[in-house]
Structures are given as structure tokens and as C-alpha cells.
Symmetry: D2
Amino acid sequence: MTELTDNAYGKSNIHLFRVTRGASRHEVRDFTVGIRFSGAYQTAYCEGDNSHVLPTDTMKNTVYGLAKELPSSEPEDFALALARHFAAGNAEAHQVRVDIAERKWDRLGDLPGHPHGFTPSGGGKHLASATVAGTRATIESGVSDLVLLKTTDSGFADFRKDRFTTLPETSDRILATTVEARWSYLAEGTIDYGATWHEVNEHLRAGFTAAYSPSVQQTLWAMGKCVLDTCPAIAQIHLRLPNLHHLPVDLSPFGLEGKGEIFVATEAPFGLIEGTVRR
Amino acid sequence: MTELTDNAYGKSNIHLFRVTRGASRHEVRDFTVGIRFSGAYQTAYCEGDNSHVLPTDTMKNTVYGLAKELPSSEPEDFALALARHFAAGNAEAHQVRVDIAERKWDRLGDLPGHPHGFTPSGGGKHLASATVAGTRATIESGVSDLVLLKTTDSGFADFRKDRFTTLPETSDRILATTVEARWSYLAEGTIDYGATWHEVNEHLRAGFTAAYSPSVQQTLWAMGKCVLDTCPAIAQIHLRLPNLHHLPVDLSPFGLEGKGEIFVATEAPFGLIEGTVRR
Amino acid sequence: MTELTDNAYGKSNIHLFRVTRGASRHEVRDFTVGIRFSGAYQTAYCEGDNSHVLPTDTMKNTVYGLAKELPSSEPEDFALALARHFAAGNAEAHQVRVDIAERKWDRLGDLPGHPHGFTPSGGGKHLASATVAGTRATIESGVSDLVLLKTTDSGFADFRKDRFTTLPETSDRILATTVEARWSYLAEGTIDYGATWHEVNEHLRAGFTAAYSPSVQQTLWAMGKCVLDTCPAIAQIHLRLPNLHHLPVDLSPFGLEGKGEIFVATEAPFGLIEGTVRR
Amino acid sequence: MTELTDNAYGKSNIHLFRVTRGASRHEVRDFTVGIRFSGAYQTAYCEGDNSHVLPTDTMKNTVYGLAKELPSSEPEDFALALARHFAAGNAEAHQVRVDIAERKWDRLGDLPGHPHGFTPSGGGKHLASATVAGTRATIESGVSDLVLLKTTDSGFADFRKDRFTTLPETSDRILATTVEARWSYLAEGTIDYGATWHEVNEHLRAGFTAAYSPSVQQTLWAMGKCVLDTCPAIAQIHLRLPNLHHLPVDLSPFGLEGKGEIFVATEAPFGLIEGTVRR
């Protein structure tokens, strides 16, 4: 006897680019959307009965159709609207999850910027997810692709050694990471998600540089604490910090002495540090 | 008040290439290893105390050092040996997880093949993970990057329609996917992991082509069932099947009639179907 | 005064998947096509006059339309047919170039294989390009993504040293590369491009393993020579061989002695060796 | 008889990260370097004689060693110093080419910015290449990865139609591209390469938005002309502009009317427009 114990289906990588055409200026939003249903779909899997299966092609169409019908909004708001729409029309979907990654664009030119010319921002993507299960809806926000580096005020020492340890201790190294953060809210109803995202982004940067870093672990904690201390709406934040190693080059074979100037940036292998900071 | 509620740290993308030099022939194994500790590391995060922190650089060294000391083996065996080694030396690590993705190589030339010349196989990677928590160890195996396509014996019809549905019904389409499967075992001690991996790989292919596919969902079920029906050691299998859409090109604007010959292969967006089949 | 000195425009990454539905078996061809016109387009660039500009969208449509109208063939033949079609209809295009990269698929199952089930081959892509300039047409063929590795019978010694040289000499190392080869023909009219491609692919493999490799350079020469010696139709072959470094791990800090068994495969930086061998 | 007709060898993807530690502020430069020799290396290829072959590993070491010995500078200056160094020590290398791609970093925080905290800039990479052949040295500069988009003031109409043309004409579309530009100089000796790069970057943006775009071709010309008209040191500029299609979604099946608001951003296939503008 075999049985289906969990299931999920949906559409990934739906790219929506939206222009709001104001009288004198255009606004743009650039969302990549993923949709995922799970629930009472056993007959689809086990018997090939598609009668309750909304095509993933329809999910894609819905992103574009609802984008047209709804006013432009933050990705959290749009994700929630999509999830509620799908849940209302698909009772079999006991859980509907919508994930959005927003690529940010800046206006070209000096402030106030070009009315319809844009270039991508450098500061990380805005992540949002909405999950609707029956009458319950939850929102999570996040940031990804935010690269931070400091050239000093970081070290790693007094760590455990065993027979395979060769790493030298240091009190001055480069620290670099690509931040991925995801956070949830104490109460979701009245959040200004856009303003909160910018605040969190600022506090992650501030937490990264605020103090001497004895380890990525401790800096993760400092960054998470910095966010919670300044954003009262946030319940908890999960951080994922790859350690983008910048290794000092050994110049001694060339008769030269390294003084913290010449580094090789490596991609693999990399350390990966994660943690959740909660109120 | 803030607290750390979960944590994990480790090293990713440790690339180990291993040659076993037999008298007349060499064997190769090509493993990419990830290691992840979680446990009683609050003082590291919250106080910057590294005294219990084994450097991720040491984790990397250990992969190479233990590879030298241990005989060559399947990735499941090596993952378990690594996880046990780390758990034994790091009481704070309440859970140690080791993930391995093996790239397979074939011998060059006709059978029995070149003694030391190789080229990558075409048939998917071998995934293995071992998790050690105290005295308990669990093994999971998997396959990724296994691309399967059939040019007929697949359709999608009788599905739910709503106002955003434009997809035509079809009883003859291309079905293509990149299989990612992960499975666990009823009892782990006496498994021949290498032979089992090849068996599962074969049965996934067989399940994919065995019957008419009314949906990716139903084919997922057929593939999972085919594996469980033929591999008694396996307790359950999770399958993740992206739908690699091959869309028939509308040739009517050119005065031509399509007959299931000319397709455009698209990358985004894509359907994604998941499910777990359990005994 | 400014002027336009050269120009080119076209469409890239047109993905054509083609099924030939035989009575009992299907055949598949998987082409990614690029098209590029250059010629008398100054008024388009300098004056915004589009009257001679065939849209790149039309180029894309033509790939699918001609695929329907023409019998299935090798990528060289299809590239030439496309280039001739475009040149005939666009006198301003003094040169039309069509590039095709074919992904190869194998049948699933044991020989003779499944009638309509497929999985990608492991042995490199088939490249083809056709260039039509007036009445003159030239064909080039190639292979890419062909990964070859040997675990011994390779070294690198007696090289030039300067003050920055630290590389130790070796007479036993791993040699690995991803072959990219492009070749032209003495006379193009009567070539069986498919058979030739398979022959070249075999001879590149044979040349790679045939003898001790004192350097990538010398192995490049041996591979090119092996192709020219056995394929009389080929005029010259250009080879591009990245050196996929597999470095022996220094195990001495762990009290272990390396014996050519444990390697780290690195991705960057990499050596890159190129050369053309001509009859 | 076979012969070697051209050759090249070198090292690619050498990642140099350089910190200049000022009294109160650090500066960073992030270069990825490629080196390529070609010349009288026939004996290396054809006979396995390595006596004139400087190892590519030494090329890599030289990047780090010379970075230490030379003051920090623009990538053009460093590329030239490297190329001259290699040419001086390797008479067989009739041509030495050094390519650098610089990733730009901004300071974290408000102006004047953090003394040692950084995040990547959003505005394109700085490319530089130096080629030394005997006593002759040439410099080229460039920009890559500069993404520009405008939401209106762009169209495409009055183009050639044939039987495969289905593209509708439009006078209002999104225009988006990832600029790759490469330029050379009238006289190289006295250029401030850093200032020039910023100027060119500005003028490319200005040229992109300055006027209505009847085609990518015409905008390419406008961008190139804008650079030449304002940068007297530049002799010519080559531009490569992929057309990042943002297609209006057809909302009519949902009973909705599109008004230039809802687009799907696609990745493949894409138009690709190139041209050189010369003084």
C-alpha cells in the first residue's frame, strides 16, 4: 500500500513588470511571483482526476489580470490579494502561498530624477510572502542579494582547534556577506510594508558596521538585534549570512610583506551562518 | 528582550575529487560536500565567545583528511562518517548534518572503458545526507538534475476553469522535467546505497514513460509508486518535478498547420509539482 | 563628424525543439538558434529609418516557419537554409550569419531504446554556423561542453621560472578540460555533417588520452592533429581548452601523506589554452 | 602535414581585491583579471617543450605581487603595467593582452560615507584592456552590466514585413537594455581613465533617454554620438545592446483593456543590436 502524504503544485518565476503612468512621471514595480497550492488533491495525483486542478497557466494569467484590476501596491499587499483570490476559488487548496521577489529600480539622473528613465538599484531585493490557510493569513517580508563588506573591524580568534585545524587566528580581516533576511510581524493589519522594508535594510547595514565583529555569528546577532530594537512591528527575523571569504595573499614567496592590502576573493567553499532573533 | 531561537553554521560547496589508484585502473568519485552544525551556540552568537566554535575552515580540512583516512565509499557512507566524526568532537552540536551531491563520471571509450580517462555521465547527480543528533543517525538519498522528456503519451484536460483560464485542453503534448527526488529508508544499516541509487534512477525513468500522463501530478505519483513497488528498502520518496514547458508554435499566421512537430522550449515561468509517496 | 563603421543586429537564443513523428518512433532535435545581419543599415542607425529593417521578431518566426516547411536535418544544413532565406529577402544584409547549438538527446531504456522517451546525452553540444555573403556561403562546425578528464599520464615541468613562480613541477597530475572546438571544411558541398561531428568528437577524446601530456598546449596539438589525420574533409580546427584545475590537497598538516588520491577541484582562476591546427 | 597557425594561452578570472588603508578611511578596488600571451610557442604545442612557457599560475601570482608593489590605480593603468611586465620577461610573447573588469563599490551610509564599510554600486562594471606588442601598447576601456530602461518615448514601426512578420507596430513601448560598450582613445598617454569612465557612463545614460527611440539601432547611434560629442579623447565606441523585451500582456481574454501598464519581462529570445560609432 502506498499513499500520498503531502503535495504542492504551482507556478514559479512569473515576471510582472508594472508601469503606473502618472501625469508627469511614471512609477515602476518589478515583481517575480511564485504561487503554490497544497491540499486535497489526492484524486489528481492518484487517479488523474483534474477536475479540481486549476492550471498553473491560469495562475500566471491571474497575476497579470489582478495586477490590472488592483492598484499598484507593495509586494506584501499584492501577494496577499493573490493568495486570497486563489483560496476563495479553490476550496481544495488548504494552503495557498504566494512569494514575490521585487527588483528595485532607481530613476536615472539627478534628483528628482528622470520622469520615465530607470536603472536597477544596488541595495537588495524586497521579498514578500503571503500564506492563506482557511481564514488565517500570514505575511512575511525579507531582503535578499544585499552585499555588505567591511575592510577591518572584524576578526576571528580563540576558536576551537582539533587535529584538522590550520586556520590562523586574526584580529583584522575583511568581512563580507550577501544578506538574506526574512521577518514576521507581531500584528499584520496596519503595517506600511514599504517603509518597514527600507528601515530594516538600513538597520541591517547599521548593525553590520556598528561594532567590532568577533565572528559572523556575533554580527548576525548584532544585525538582528538592531532590527528588533528599532522596528517595533517585527516579531522575529531570520538571517542567512554566507561568509564571502577574502583571503590575504601570502606574498612572502615574492619577498614582499603583506599588510592587509592584497586579497583574493573566493567563491567556494564558503561558510554559511544562520540564526533567528526573536523578541 | 531578544533571544536566539535557532541557529546553524557550517561550510558549503567543499569540492572533493578522489582517485582510487588500482593496479590497472583508476576509479574516481566527485563529491560536493556541505556541513551544518546546530545546537548550543548561544554564547557564540550573543557574546562573541568562540571557544566552542569549530572553524568552518576546519570542517573543510576534515573532509579532505577523512577522505584520505577512510576507504572510498558511497556518499551516504562518507556523509555518515563525517557527521559522526563532528558530533563526537563537538558536544554543543546537537545536530550535525552532512549533505553530499555526487557528480557521476563514465569511462571514456568502449567497454570496459579507458583505465584513467573519464567524461561526466548524463544521468543525474547522486544526493546523500546524513544527520546525527546524539545517538540517532538518519540517512536520506536522492537524485537531482535528471532530465526526462517524452514527445507524446501525455495530455492535460478536464481541468478547472475560471475567468483567467485560457489554456486549451490537449491529449497530446510534450512532457519534460528535471527530476529531483529524495528518499528515506525503512532501516538504514544494511543498505547497498550505490545499487539502490541506480535502481531508483531506473524506476523513475520507467515510471515516467510507463503510461499515458494525464498531468504531471499523476505521473509524479506513478514514478513514486514505481520506486516503492520495486525497492523494498525505501520508506518514502519525495519528488519535485518542474514542468519544462515545450509549447507548440502557432504556425497559422504563416499559413501552415501545426501537427505536433514544432515547439518552443521555454524556461520561465514554469509549473512546479511536488509530492511525497509513502508506504 | 561621426560615422557608423560597422553594425550587426539579430535575434539570439531562439529555442526550437522539433519532433519527427515516425510510424513507430519519434526523433527529436533541440536547436538554439542565433541570427545576425550586417550591412547597409546606416539609415536605420543614423536616421531612424526602419524601412529596410526586418524585425528580429520576424527572424524568430522564420526559424519556426522554415522548420515546419523543411525536412529535419543537421544543424549545418538548417543554418545554411536559414541564412540563404534571409539573404535572399534582404539585399541590405551584406552578411547573414546563423549560429546553432544543438543539445543532443538519447533514448531512454536499453537498445533500441524507447520510441518516444528521451534524456540528454552527456557528450557535448553540436555547434554549427552558416555565413552567407552575396553568393558565397561558408559553414563551420563545432563541439562545446565536452568535459574530459584523465587522472594520470599528465604532468607539467621544465617550464620558465621568474621571481613570481611558486608552482612545483610534476610528472603526475589530473588533466581536465571542457573542450570547445570549431572547424571548417576543405569543400563544403558533400559533407555528412552529422557523421563528421561524431567522428570529430571521438577523435578529440582519443587525442586527449592517447599519450602522456606534458602540457595542455601539447595535448591541444595532439587532439587537433588526431582530428585532421582522420577526417580528410576538415581544413582546420580551432581548440579552446580551459584547464580545470584539480589540485592535490596538502595533507601534511594533518600528519598524512598525499599519494595522488585527494584533490580539490577549483573553478577560478583557470588556465585557458587556445590554438588552431591547420592542414 | 599539419601546422599551428595561431595560439594563445593565459589565466582567466584572477580575482584581486585591494584595500588602501588611509589614515582615517579605506579605499577598495575589486578587479577580475585575465591574461593572454600569444606568439612563438610552436615548440610548446608541437613538441612539448615548456622551456619558454611561463606557467599560468605564475601569471596569477604576478597580479598579486605587482598589485603590492605598485600604487593603486585605475584598471587601465594596472592592465598596462601588467602587460608591460609580462612582455619584458617573455620575448616569445609577441602579444600580451590583459583584461580587467572592475566591480565598483560605494560606501555605506550617508555622505561622506562609512570609513571602511561598503556595498556594490548599481551602475555597471568598468572594463579595461591593455595590449602590448613589441614597443606598441594600446588601451581600450569599457562598461558592462549597465541596465537602462525607459517606460515610454520608444516605439518600433514602418519596418520591413514579409510572410513571417506578425509583430504589431507600436509608438509606445518599454525600451530596456544591458549596455556593453568598449571604446578606444585618440592618444592614450595623458588620459584620466577614471574620470573618463564616469563621463562616458553619464553620457550613455543621457543618450538613452534624450529623445524618442524609433529603434534600438537609432538609440545606439544616439548614445554613441552623445559620448563622442562630449568626450574629445575618445576615438570610437562600440556598443552592444541586447533588447530586453518587456511585452504588453494581452488582457482582452479576461475582459480587460491594456493601457501600457502590465508587461511580462522575457529573457529569451532577445534582440541584439551592435554598432561602432567613430569620429
